[in-house]
């Protein structure tokens, strides 16, 4: 287990991206200088152990976006809403963090995944599918972001199990609304690297803060709530 507030970087050589043959800009985005970027854990990644005396349950969000600018944006938005954040630049990296692929040997408690739709290689939709197909992870709510309002796309994502489809640029109000999707602050899915089993942990109810989201009934921008 890594120590608190330790930042580490992992670089890996990834094979060249294949053109997956789908139409649209997503399939043909190239990373020509394809040094794979680092995976930086931006906040303390101590495991969220049960702590009955704790007043606050930290919610750990995994944000996926190939744009460095948008990663900075979403990270700040999430942090300002008091989430713990890990950002990665691809679906492959996201799967590593979640414990599906690779052997980084990291263990995180991810309560929500927010991912860009349009990414080279694995799109946000592909990532959504993988998560929903994996029994250890399918309970984790997934939210999709996109700069394009394509009804078919939105429909597909919602049908595949996305909780919400958020139009970019993402606003603070969008991020605050994410709390609604984390159905029960007491539950998060812990993936054990060695056994690949999901050990769901229940926090003592006294230790959990009920989050008053101050729910807004009028969504900002064009968002679709499942």
């Amino acid at each position: 287990m890594a120590s608190i507030n330790e930042e580490f970087e992992v670089s890996k050589a990834f094979p060249p991206l294949e053109d997956l043959g789908r139409s649209g800009p997503c399939a043909t985005m190239f990373l020509e200088n394809s040094e794979v970027t680092s995976h930086t854990v931006t906040k303390s990644h101590q495991e969220a152990f049960v702590n009955p005396t704790s007043e606050v349950t930290e919610v750990h969000v995994l944000a996926v976006d190939d744009s460095v600018l948008d990663r900075k944006m979403i990270e700040t938005l999430l942090r300002n809403s008091s989430y713990k954040v890990t950002t990665v630049d691809s679906g492959d990296k996201a799967l590593e963090v979640l414990g599906i692929e690779g052997s980084l040997g990291l263990q995180f408690n991810i309560s929500l995944i927010i991912t860009d739709y349009c990414m080279p290689g694995m799109t946000g939709y592909d990532l959504l599918k993988r998560v929903k197909e994996t029994s250890a992870l399918k309970e984790i709510p997934v939210v999709i972001m996109s700069s394009e309002n394509v009804p078919n796309r939105i429909q597909r994502c919602l049908e595949e199990g996305a909780k919400e489809f958020i139009m970019k640029p993402v606003k603070l109000t969008d991020v605050e609304r994410l709390k609604l999707h984390i159905s029960s602050p007491q539950m998060s899915c812990h993936v054990d690297q060695s056994s690949k089993l999901c050990n769901k942990r229940k926090f003592a109810s006294e230790g959990c803060e009920t989050q008053n989201t101050g729910r807004r009934t009028r969504p900002s921008g064009l968002t679709v709530v499942a």
């Binding site: 190239f30 600018l69 900075k72 700069s147 970019k168 606003k171």
Partner: protein, 153 residues
């Protein structure tokens, strides 16, 4: 409050208002400022820097892509899509507008149109980069003089 600070603040307000009025920036730029606070005091400056670097990269890629005899328009479209995304995230409205036109030309495989848009995007990026740098510099001066940056709009 000193005259110095008041003057700088007025200058800042006048300048930022003109940028909004002339359509260089939109509301998203204000949203960025809302994310800046004591625990994250350089957020806007960092985002502007990232935007600058990202844009320069994309302009270089687009220039290269449009130089070939046979242009890969899907590639061009992919780059413009990225550019549109980043300009949208920062609130660079005029750059974003050029990107929209650019995508139409790329879709239509219109070489001339694409080349024109590339020129336009270079111009608009150069303009907004300069203006953002000036605006941030004003903010720095206000803070250095002991004042607070007035809220825009």
């Amino acid at each position: 409050m000193s005259m110095e600070v008041a003057k700088l603040q007025q200058k800042f307000l006048d300048y930022s208002n003109s940028l909004f009025q002339d359509g260089f920036l939109d509301d998203q730029f204000i949203q960025l400022h809302m994310l800046q606070d004591d625990s994250n005091p350089d957020f806007v400056a960092e985002v502007v820097t990232l935007f600058g670097e990202d844009s320069e990269r994309l302009i270089a890629e687009l220039s290269a892509a449009l130089q070939h005899d046979t242009i890969d328009y899907r590639k061009v479209d992919a780059y413009v899509h990225q550019f549109k995304g980043s300009s949208s995230s920062i609130g660079a409205q005029r750059v974003k507008a050029v990107c929209s036109d650019f995508r139409v030309y790329a879709d239509a495989k219109n070489r001339e149109g694409c080349l024109q848009c590339l020129q336009l995007i270079k111009q608009e990026f150069s303009l907004i980069k300069h203006k953002l740098d000036s605006l941030l510099k004003l903010e720095e001066q206000i803070i250095a003089a002991g004042g607070t940056v007035p809220f825009m709009d």
